[in-house]
């Protein structure tokens, strides 16, 4: 169980680093996706190693999470496109105006 959890921690920290460090908005979104995936991996691991492997709840939770992540990616990328239309840039540091 330990290797899986370490792996998911690594994924989560990598995603966090991308979200905090990268300037490009797309990569910020990529980091968020990585963090979501780390959480999904944890769910599956806890289902497999946990006390109640008969329950389907973790699987369904991951399924919902995947679906929501897809929606989130779609809206997020559309937002980036809209921002790019305004600022001609995807650099999050450029988006420092409070007006649209």
């Amino acid at each position: 169980m330990m290797p899986y959890l370490l792996l998911s921690s690594l994924l989560f920290s990598a995603g966090l680093a991308a979200a905090l460090l990268r300037r490009n908005a797309i990569l910020v979104l990529v980091g968020i996706e990585l963090m979501l995936n780390a959480a999904n991996l944890n769910f599956v691991v806890f289902w497999k190693f946990g006390p109640n492997p008969e329950s389907m709840a973790p699987a369904l939770f991951v399924l919902f999470s995947i679906a929501i992540a897809a929606a989130e990616a779609g809206v997020g990328l559309a937002l980036i496109l809209a921002l790019h239309k305004h600022f001609k840039s995807t650099n999050v540091d450029d988006m420092n105006l409070l007006k649209g």
Binding site: L21, G50, A73, G74, K88, S89
Partner: protein, 193 residues
């Protein structure tokens, strides 16, 4: 830790790090796709077939492709010479290291640490479907609503708004380089660094 898991872990680690550090955005997203696919392999190894295939279908087949499209649609001329990372590097890195150690320590001190793998457990599709249609039918419907809303929202957000275009271009020209056609910019993509 078995051999195949070691390979998968290595693949996930390397591709995730590559996905967040590479300069070329297309490479980043392709590495991200590798991460997703290897994660699906891990799910497969854990006996969650259905989740693994959903993961590939949704993440590799849709999210990564969508991200690639957006990368190509948002290219503006030559990439700027400045660093691809934010100016303050140390603080976020410290935060990430802290989060990693925290998570690892939590995992280490967990009471489930040495719990055995449930060998026979696997996600039978029939059970998943039955649960989905009985106890989780409301979340499913809400999810459908959410996806519809996201679809419409994304379409409206990404739609070209003709009315505002004039002032937008003024703002854009004052701020950055003029936009070049997509194809030409991908050609002039320098391979330095």
């Amino acid at each position: 830790m078995s051999f195949d898991l070691a390979i998968l872990a290595l693949l996930i680690g390397v591709s995730a790090i590559a996905a967040i550090t590479l300069r070329d955005l297309v490479h980043c997203v392709l590495c991200l796709a590798v991460t997703f696919a290897s994660l699906a392999a891990v799910y497969l190894r854990l006996g969650a077939e259905f989740l693994a295939f959903s993961q590939v279908l949704v993440y590799v087949g849709a999210v990564a492709i969508l991200a690639l499209f957006v990368v190509l649609l948002t290219r503006t001329g030559e990439p700027r010479a400045e660093s691809r990372f934010s100016p303050q590097v140390m603080i976020p890195l410290a935060v990430c290291a802290f989060v990693f150690t925290g998570l690892a320590a939590a995992a280490w001190s967990s009471s489930l640490k040495d719990s055995p793998e449930a060998v026979g457990a696997s996600m039978k599709l029939k059970d998943v479907g039955r649960e989905l249609m009985t106890s989780y039918v409301l979340p499913l419907e809400v999810l459908g609503l959410l996806l519809t809303a996201a679809l419409i929202g994304a379409a409206i957000l990404a739609k070209a708004d003709d009315g505002e275009d004039d002032e937008v271009t003024d703002l854009g020209e004052s701020q950055g380089q003029q936009q070049r056609p997509m194809v030409a910019t991908t050609h002039s993509d320098p391979k330095h660094d």
